[in-house]
Each structure stands twice: as structure tokens, then as C-alpha cells.
Homo-oligomer: 332 residues x 3
């Protein structure tokens, strides 16, 4: 999926000639279609530009449907005949370098927000152009609803909450100070320093989600950060970019989920659980308070500890160490 | 204690006939008094409705003083002759089902806030009707003071702080972005999903409390969340619903206290200490940074580790494991 | 360095006679210079008053350059002939007692903010007097820029962020709800209770720093809290007062740094790393997610665990304990 026009716009469609100039390649070797959007490799479709960083052997059989896909400029890649493949030195850097001068935030300058007559917006709240506030929704003092944001029916947005680049379902509750749709934490080295990656994705909260006070849910880098229906999240939790959380998940305070994590339905996370990037937590799994998870958890299992392991293993270790040291103390 | 009329109101007093209809019981078996408020079982007094979930044997000798107490609909409960006992399938669900259509937030529509002439309120702050700002208090930019909230003398409320359903003592300081009185994290299953429990309690901060930037203190479900005088709380801490914190307690950054915890006077909690639901920490006890507390700590003791145990036990275990593995390494 | 006149002012210069009265000492024994500012012991220069709490043997050879230095009132200190040394019962208490009635926040009443014509300030933002917003800077909705605050060119200040007592470099980004320059967590006992220490320092963010959503960076007690150029900090991190962070440091979500910590360039801190007061982390060192650091880390090393130790030691311990308990289970 390319960029959502409610949140982003490209300055112009890129013709084969534009692409040829940008990446210093022969125009004749390129597809004749224009490029009108950008996307992740997996989510790409016609009209998109994307990038791929792996070796040729991990290039999927049905390779990207993108109009242009930037790949590494190695000899193996130069042998690829697909006209959508363009080799560049550093695909990620080249991709975001193009994007930063081509994709802009859509501010909907001429399109005032649509607020349902039965919605209630506090006088001190700000609702930007292009936003849409559903029937029965309630927006509290000092809440900020960014350009193009969609708020469902009967949603309740607490004071000082901020929502950008997001689609918010019916009956969703955000408590005070929750932050939806800020930039994710993605860095790219360049010029001898770390630089922030611009984020072109969204946050999607399905119906009935509750997000506690001062929580943060970052938008996707490319593609979405998603929280499934009726998932309940306590105060001061954090959900990283491109993480996908299922339905009826429960997260207790300070649960911190890194980027590109996948959490299936009915998972329970205790307080202060931490989850590393790209981990998968199977349906109905439970993580005890304070667990620090570095690898996948099969469905239905209960894990704990730091690093997290099956709860019984951790408990056995705790008890054994405790016994050993008590024995030594007694025999002194 | 029933609901505080500064924050909540009932749509009408419930007559015995209303109660009979609501719970499908015989009016003749009910007390003749009206029900005008709701409360927890322990805090109930005349005029209140409450609920009790335990077995009959845990029903206290001097059972609830409430006008109506909902109990499970089991045979043992049906033998109870007290006219204030009403059996229902699921007391908790029945209680909150009644409450959600009967108890509403009091907005004090016709009663403008009272701001002491020697108080200072930033032009961008919002103070709702029915609120009361004491002499010498200072309310900073974008602070939100909800309906009926009481702010003591010389209190300092930082920018972007939000205060709802709360009584704030003299000389209290809230740093920027602190959240007082949001909904607690309480869930009730129903219709195949998790639903938020409405919260009818308050937050009470006694004199001289300091609450750091971006902290969160949730209001009670029924009854109060309380922080004792001169307790000092660092940034990004969290206090759950119905937790009672004593005087002169110190909590370093990220300390996270779950619900219904009791912390006695002069307790010291290091950074990132986590405390599970319903735990009791005795007077003057200390918890080292990062401790994860799952059970009660006697007064005066020092505990650490995850899960937390007496500090000396934890240290002995750490040293023993370290020695064992160094020895093995050396003998290879 | 004394107080920054952009943020603080003294009610008047203190003559030797004022000093003599304040501390009940002989005027004749004092330097003839006036005291016009206050500072830490290490940062003091002519015109400042400071305090020193250690024994005489730790008094440096080139003792404080301050005009007045408060020291303990012990016999060894009474033997010191330096005219800048004034003995008092409790130097820290005496120092802050003087300060609280003498040093005040500078509000720049008559000096409107200077906003560069090419800067963009949201209509709902508040920029206080004496503040300075650089060319190309962008201040989002409900941001609060305190009196005298300096915002560099092309800086981006997110919605609901608050900045006080701070100097913010070029190209700095603060995401929504970040808190810069709030009071640090410093306490002083007195009158049988804990009292907050007033903070007279600043926060300095060098060019290219990014600070995530709902982060908190406290200002120094005396002197500054500093974050070096191009350091990147994820959501919900916390940096305590007087901590000095180098360049190109990376901190993942919930990293929590106590006060007076020193972190050198190119350090990497995983998610939820905690660092105790006064610790030093050498250049390029790395701390794994969840590490709880209580002592110094040499440059270039990788540590993990709680308490943190060299990563290999921790991993060896984890593996050994796991093996021991699996063996026991198998042999049952």
C-alpha cells in the first residue's frame, strides 16, 4: 500500500525520465509507468517505488509489484533483467533521500474539518483541516486532532491527547496525554552522524480500543502500526512503529513493544513487559510482569523473567538458586 | 463513602420499586429506604448500593451498612434473611450495569469556578465550573482543572497537567504533563470482549505532595486513591486506582504501583520499582532500584531484585552464581 | 558558572554586610566584593556564592573561586583562613535557604518574544517573553516555550511539548509531550519532612538532538543538564538533573538516566536501561535492553543484566543456572 492521501501527498508524479535522473540510470531500461507513491517492499503495488536490501536469493519468487524497486548495486543484482529493478549504492538511503524532497504532509488547506453535529469538541481543542469527527465522539480540552485524522463514532479523546496520521475506530478511548502517530524511532547513518528516518505510515486503532494516559503509539515507517479491536492498554505503555497487535489483548502499565512486533489475539502482557523488535507472540500467550522478551512465544504459553523464558523454567531456576545459597549459609 | 457530589450525581433516587424492577426481585422483601449513591462494600453506609462477590463465610459479622448489597445468586446466599441482600447472577456486572445508566459526571453547569484573587491562572489554562483554586495557587499554561476539582493554597500546577475528580492539598506541586484522576485500569468481560469499568472514585493528594513530570495517578474505582502528606514522586511514575500511599514516601523515576496497594509512611522506592496489586509495604521499608515486588514487605526491611526478596538474600544469590561460573571458567 | 540571566535574577547584589547578617558572621572577615549570583562549588567564579560539604582534606588545592563558599561549621573548617570561607551548620540548607528568598525566575515582563519571520508558530502555542525562536523553526499546537528560552534554526517542537530554562540547538526535534527543563528530583530534609530543592540550572540540547514523545529532561540543580549533538532518544525516556550526555548517543524507549551521570559519545543504551546516579559510561559502550547499571562502564564494553555486568559474564551465568536446573529435572 502506498501513502494515504489523507496524510501525505507527492509533489508530482515521477516520470521514467525523472527516475532516470534521480538514480543516474538509463531511462530506456525503466518501466514506462509513472511513480506516484512509495511503500514498503511487501506492501508495494503498481505506481509505487520501494526498496529491497537483501541478497538476490531472498528476492521472492513473485518479486515486488512496485513500478520501481531499488536494490543493492552488486554484481548479482546487475544480472537481474526485471525492468522494475534499479541498482543503487545504498537502497535505503537512496529511497529516503528521494522521499524527503518528494513526499510532504497533506495539510488539507482548503478543506475544513467535518465535525458531526452530535459530536462534542471542547472549545480549547484543535481539530485540523481534513479531519473527521464521528457522531457522538467527545474531544476533551487541549486535545489535538491532526490534518486528515479520522475519529469514529462515540470515541472519547482525553485532554492533552494528540493524534496525527491516524484512523481511530468507533468507541475508542484515549486517556489524557496519549500520543498517537508520532515519528517512530528509526535512524539512518549519514554525514558521520545519526539521522531520523521520516515516517510515511499511519496508526490504526480498531473499534473499542482503550489507550491509557501518557501512552505512545508511533506511526509506521512505511505501512501501519495497528491495534486490534477491544484491546485494552494501561497507562504509560509504548507501541513501536509497524507493530501489529491483535484483538482483546491486555497490556498493563509500562508495557513496551518495539518495532515490527506481532502480537496475536487474546495475549496478556503484565506490567513493564518489554518486547524486542520483530518478535511474534502467539495467540493467548501470557507474559508475567517485568518479563523481557527477546524471542518468539508459542500460542498459549506463559513466560516470565529477564530474558523471558517459559515461566516454569524461570521459577525452577529461582528456587534452585535460592535453595543452594540458603544451604551454604546454614552450613557455615 | 458514596460518590462525591462535587464529581458525580445520580439521575434520581432509586425507590424500592425501582430496585425491584432493576434486579427482578420482590419489592416487599426490600428495605423501605431509597438508594441515593453507590460505594464499595467496605465503604458503604445508609443510602448506598454496593456488591459482594465472596462466599457467605467471608461475609463479615457486621455486614455491609448499605441499603442494598448485591450478592451472588447461590443457594447459600438465598438463605440470608437480611433485607439489604439482593441476589443476582453476577454482582459486579449487575452493579456496574446499574451505575452506567444512573451515575453521571457532575459538570456544575451553572456554577462558575471560584478562583482566589491571589491565585494566578495562566490565560491559556482551563478551569471548569465548580472548581476551586486556593489562595496563592499558580496554574500554568495549558493546565486543565476539571469540574469540581479543589486546589489548595500555594499549590503549583505545571503546564499541560490535567486534574479531574481530585482534591489537591496545600503546597502540592504537579510538574508538567502530570495526569491526575484519569480512569483506572479495570476490565470486565462481557459480550465476548473486554470492557472498561467506569470509575466513580477520586484522587486525594495531601499537603506538600510533589508529583513529577508526566506521572499518572488514576482515580479509585469506588473510593479513593490517596497520597499522603509530603510524599515526593519523581518523573514518569504511575499510581494505580485505590492505592493508598503514606506520608514522606519517596519514589524515584518510573516507580509503578498497581491497584489497591498500601504503602506506609517513610517508605523509599528506588527507580523503576514495580509493585503488584494488593501488596502492602510496611513503614520505613526500602526497595532497591528495579525491584519487582509481588508480596508484602515487613516494616523497616530492605528488599531488591526481581522478584523482590530481602536484599541480602538477593545479593548472596548474585555473588554465589557469579563465583560458581567464574570457577568453572577458570578450571577449563 | 552563575545563574543564567535569561532565566533567573537576584533581587539585589549582596554586600559584605548582607552576607554577615544572613550567616551571623563578622563582616570584617569577609571579602569586600558583593555577591551577585550562585553556583555549584566546581563551577564557581568571582561574584558567586557556593557551598562545600566534604571534609577539609577534600578541599581542592585551588579552592573555589567563589566570593563566598559556605562550609561545615566544624573545628577543622574554623582553622581555614581563606576569607571566602564561611562556616555554617548545614551548608546545603543554608545555601538553599538564602537562594529561595533571593533568586527568582526571570519573566522578561517588558520584553516580548522574538520570533523569526520565517519561523512557524501554531496559533494555539504559547511563547513567553524573552524567548527567541530561530529561522525555520516550527512550533506545534499547544507547545509551551517558557521565558527566555532559546530555540535554534529549523528546530521542530511537537504538540504539547514544554520547554523551560533551556537552550535548544539547530535542527533539534522534540516530539509531542516532551518535557524540557522541569525541576529535578532533589530533596532536602527539614521540619520533619522532605522538601524539594529549588533548581537554578538549565537544559542544553546541542544541534540535531531528537527527543521522543513524552520524554522528560530535568534542568540542573546548579549548572546544566546537557545532551550532545545528534544524540537520538526514543519515547518515554528520562534524563535526570546535571547529567551530561555526549554526541551520537542512542537511547531506546524508557531509558532512564539518574542525576549527575556522564555518558560519553557514541554510547548505545537499549530499551528500559536504567543508570544510577553519578555513574560514568565510557565512549562507545553498549548496554543491552533492560540493563540496570550501578557502576562505571569502561569505553567500548558491552554490558547487560540486572545489576549490569559484562554481557558475557551475565550470559554465562544465565546458561549455567539453566543447565544446572535442567539436569536436576532430568535426573529426578
Amino acid at each position: 500500500m502506498g501513502i494515504d492521501p489523507r496524510f501525505f501527498r507527492v509533489s508530482k508524479a515521477l516520470s521514467p525520465s525523472d527516475i532516470a535522473k534521480q538514480f543516474d540510470v538509463e531511462e530506456g531500461s525503466l518501466p514506462t509507468d509513472s511513480v506516484t507513491s512509495l511503500s514498503s517492499f511487501d506492501g508495494a503495488s503498481k505506481g509505487d517505488i520501494c526498496f529491497f536490501e537483501g541478497p538476490l536469493k531472498s528476492w521472492p519468487e513473485h518479486a515486488s509489484a512496485a513500478t520501481i524497486c531499488l536494490t543493492p548495486d552488486t554484481s548479482e543484482w546487475r544480472s537481474v533483467a526485471d525492468s522494475n529493478v534499479v541498482q543503487v549504492d545504498n537502497p535505503r538511503a537512496a529511497f529516503f533521500d528521494l522521499a524527503s524532497g518528494w513526499v510532504f504532509e497533506e495539510t488539507h488547506q482548503s478543506q475544513p474539518p467535518r465535525i458531526h453535529p452530535e459530536a462534542s469538541v471542547a472549545p480549547s481543542a484543535v481539530v485540523e483541516n481534513g479531519a473527521n469527527i464521528g457522531k457522538g465522539a467527545k474531544i476533551d480540552a487541549f486535545a489535538y486532532i491532526g490534518p486528515g485524522v479520522q475519529i469514529g463514532e462515540n470515541a472519547k479523546i482525553g485532554s492533552h491527547a494528540s493524534i496525527r496520521f491516524s484512523l481511530v475506530g468507533n468507541g475508542v478511548k484515549l486517556l489524557a496525554g496519549a500520543r498517537l502517530g508520532e515519528d517512530g524511532f528509526g535512524l539512518i547513518p549519514g554525514d558521520g552522524k545519526m539521522n531520523d528516518l521520516p515516517h510515511y505510515g499511519r496508526v490504526i486503532l480498531h473499534d473499542g480500543v482503550t489507550l491509557g494516559a501518557n501512552c505512545t503509539v508511533d506511526r509506521g515507517l512505511l505501512g501501519d502500526t495497528v491495534i486490534g479491536a477491544h484491546t485494552k492498554i494501561d497507562n504509560q505503555c509504548h507501541i513501536g512503529h509497524n507493530t501489529i497487535v491483535g484483538q482483546n489483548v491486555i497490556m498493563v502499565a509500562y508495557a513496551g513493544i518495539s518495532g515490527s512486533v506481532k502480537i496475536d489475539d487474546n495475549v496478556r502482557l503484565g506490567g513493564r513487559v518489554g518486547v524486542a523488535d520483530h518478535v511474534h507472540i502467539g495467540e493467548g500467550a501470557q507474559l508475567g510482569a517485568g518479563a523481557g522478551l527477546l524471542r518468539d512465544v508459542p500460542a498459549g504459553e506463559t513466560w516470565g523473567g529477564f530474558p523471558a523464558r517459559p515461566l516454569k523454567d524461570w521459577q525452577r531456576e529461582l528456587i534452585w538458586v535460592s535453595k543452594q545459597t540458603r544451604r551454604r549459609k546454614a552450613s557455615k
